[in-house]
Subunit: 223 residues, 2 copies
DNA sequence: CATTTGTTTTGAACATGTTCAGTTCCATCC
DNA sequence: GGATGGAACTGAACATGTTCAAAACAAATG
């Protein structure tokens, strides 16, 4: 079978992917072994690697497949929604809905951003380091004359820390000469942050306080 | 030596950590092997594991050490800076400076957020998936009557995609019942985004356009 | 049918993080 | 000084992702 369709091997590939996702869901990505997947698919390890370059590639294929599956529904949402808000809600909401059953699996993939991973900057293991760092920002605020809505103020040190983490994340991946892009990012965002803080006391931005406050309380807990 | 100070073992521990960081810097975190590190430190593999729970733990120790080393300088910055901006610049800037020599090492740790990792949502490998997704947002915008500064407009689809990725990231780690927190995050941030878009045309926010535009152009390239 | 050629499949071998049952070392105690 | 017990250290063994030379298979060809 050289030039015709290749239904047999396609079936094997599909079976391996299918079984793999099942094993991932049951035991988690890291816990699942390639030997286990291959055995469950009734195939030798090598066969799995014949179709998928690596364990990661299995997940890649899952993403690919998911996007294909979502395509028609996304089309429907885009054509039927009546305004920007509906479109955004629809697009993102559908994604959540579609990935819902596989949330646990996907969690295993965010690796170091996953708070359960010991090395994550959000993990319990790194809490002492993090807290100490956040305390510095608290002092940076306390020693200044920053005025913020009382619903937001207690969270501001943690938000600044998050801002810093974002910068660092960008920085480690920044391949521009001397990390010039990060410098620019730092400079401009700081500029914008300070400008926004000046505006923050204007009544114009009042409508932002309540949602922002509720959000922060829900995420970080009571002040 | 049961209750006195333990200078000898402390020295071994320090040597292992030191050698390990050197090997990480030279060959990268993933490429470095524990056997190589142990050998370079003149010690058996088991000894490395006696002092450090895992390969990751070596990096953890590095973070710990770094924070200790930065402490005095941070104190100086906090006490000498004259306003909020100086404090923020000082804190974050010093961190960059301190980690500078180890940037390559740290990059290896951001794992799946690192664009070089094939599974990263920012990688070249995932580009087709990403682009298709971004195109959906572009259509969501095009079909609406959103008005944006021309310097920002071309980047808006990509920004929305980034927003979505942030939501998803939060979501996979969200352990609240039915992921209620993510729902709230989605709802409130969308609310705030839409409100901000309404304000965006006001001359009041004009000073944000230029830095924002420059930033986006630098990060994403010419429109 | 026998041969050839390309695809699919196998399973042993390899590399590397990690574990663990020992062994060595050394300060203290008799 | 010798015995003791805990700390420091060893290296073989294990688990698992990945590779690869060889085998099995299948379709086309003579």
């Amino acid at each position: 079978m050289t030039r015709a369709a290749i239904p047999k091997s396609e079936a094997t590939r599909a079976r391996i992917l299918d079984v793999a996702l099942g094993v991932f869901r049951e035991r988690g990505f890291a816990q699942a072994t390639m030997r286990e997947i291959a055995a469950a698919a009734g195939v030798a390890v090598g066969a799995a690697y014949y179709y998928f370059d690596s364990k990661d590639a299995l997940v890649m294929a899952f993403y690919q497949q998911a996007q294909d599956e979502m395509a028609t529904e996304v089309e429907r949402i885009l054509s039927s929604a009546r305004n920007f808000e509906e479109r955004l809600r629809g697009l993102i909401g559908h994604k959540f809905a579609h990935f819902g059953p596989n949330r646990a699996l996907m969690g295993a993939l965010s690796a170091h951003v996953d708070p359960r991973h010991p090395l994550s900057p959000f993990s319990r293991e790194t809490a002492p380091i993090r807290d100490r760092d956040i305390a510095y920002f608290a002092r940076a605020i306390a020693d200044s004359k920053i005025k913020l809505a009382p619903t937001i103020q207690p969270y501001f040190p943690r938000l600044l820390w998050l801002y810093q983490m974002g910068l660092m994340l960008f920085w480690v991946c920044d391949d521009s000469p001397s990390q010039a892009r990060t410098q620019l990012l730092f400079d401009r965002t700081l500029q914008m942050l300070l400008f926004t803080l000046k505006l923050a006391s204007l009544p114009l931005l009042r409508p932002l306080y309540r949602p922002a406050g509720e959000l922060l309380r829900s995420i970080y807990g009571e002040p």
